[in-house]
Symmetry: C2
Subunit: 199 residues, 2 copies
């Protein structure tokens, strides 16, 4: 698995939830949060979701691992996350920017191969050429083989958990155009759905 | 309950899911989708989510009602939606724009009073003054009494299901600045959470 450098020294954040569709959801979520190494990110969980902030690679590493642990239970689980960089006022937690780039949850073992489906959208803010940036990242996902469908307001990815999260990280990091860009990406990733794939 | 006119004759869409955290999730989702009147919107459900498109008032009416039916089961349920207007290429389904403005699911009975918590974010695209638009809508939510907290990348609302969806609709419709605006709003709304509120 290859990872691109994040092309930025600025803080990246992700506000996300995992939704395990089971009566045991509290246990599944709690276990996932506890089983992942979050040493290199600022992390805060409230009654609605979890927010992680730090270097891009660690934000993607931690969110991917938490979803993998949840999906690894075999329960139908959906990850919903909003990744962000350049949000005005986002400075608390900058201390984590001095961490090195070694990912703490790189190996997901067999969980990396769980089949997933995803919808993602990029929102480059404060710029006229945002559609060009979006089209460019859709083309990149296509060339990686994970993009399966353009849909209303979003693009669809299908593939292993590992391939889909790599595509998401690539799209986000490449869509950062300048050292002042404010960029948001939303991603929904589903595993173990009982519904037949609609592609 | 008052509703503002939507200030636009253009098509609005929402791609959304409801996540009932129960072993019976298939039954709960299916029943919610079937119990709501969707006559005035274009609607399509796939294995990841549902997309509704039409006049603003009907898009908000239908999404609110589907979440209300799911939350009304008493199960911990989260609604996750992306509302959009002005997305380039969004024209299929314009036939629903000739519907009148009478909402089909106005009365939610006691479900209107279910306590909810929400995070929402506005993304006005293709404009330099997007932060001003966002701040203006945060102020509006504050004046309505539902805004409880500014958080990283989002704003928090607390209140009844009815009050929270009314705030979301007001924020979205007011943030549409011109007949060419491309605007996206993401909203997560939670009901019946066993976690203590973090405010």
């Amino acid at each position: 698995m290859s990872h691109l450098t994040c092309g930025t020294s600025r803080i990246v954040g992700c506000r996300f939830s995992v939704f395990p569709m089971t009566d045991r959801f509290v246990e599944v979520i709690t276990e996932a949060l506890e089983s992942v190494n979050t040493d290199k990110v600022w992390i805060h969980t409230d009654d609605l979701c979890t927010c992680v902030r730090g270097r891009a690679e660690h934000v993607f590493d931690v969110t991917r691992a938490i979803f993998a642990h949840t999906a690894g239970t075999g329960v139908h689980t959906v990850f919903n996350g909003t990744f962000s960089i350049g949000c005005p006022g986002d400075s608390k937690g900058d201390v984590f920017m001095s961490e090195d780039d070694v990912r703490m949850n790189e190996s997901l073992a067999e969980k990396a191969n769980i089949e997933t489906a995803s919808h993602f959208s990029l929102y480059p803010l404060g710029t006229d050429n945002y559609m060009d940036i979006i089209y460019q990242e859709v083309e990149r996902a296509k060339s990686k083989g994970t993009l399966t469908q353009g849909i209303h307001y979003s693009s669809r990815l299908d593939g292993t958990l590992s391939a889909v999260f790599e595509t998401l990280e690539d799209a986000f990091t490449h869509a950062i155009q300048t050292e002042r860009s404010h960029l948001v990406m939303t991603a929904v990733v589903s595993a173990n759905s009982p519904s037949p794939k609609s592609i």
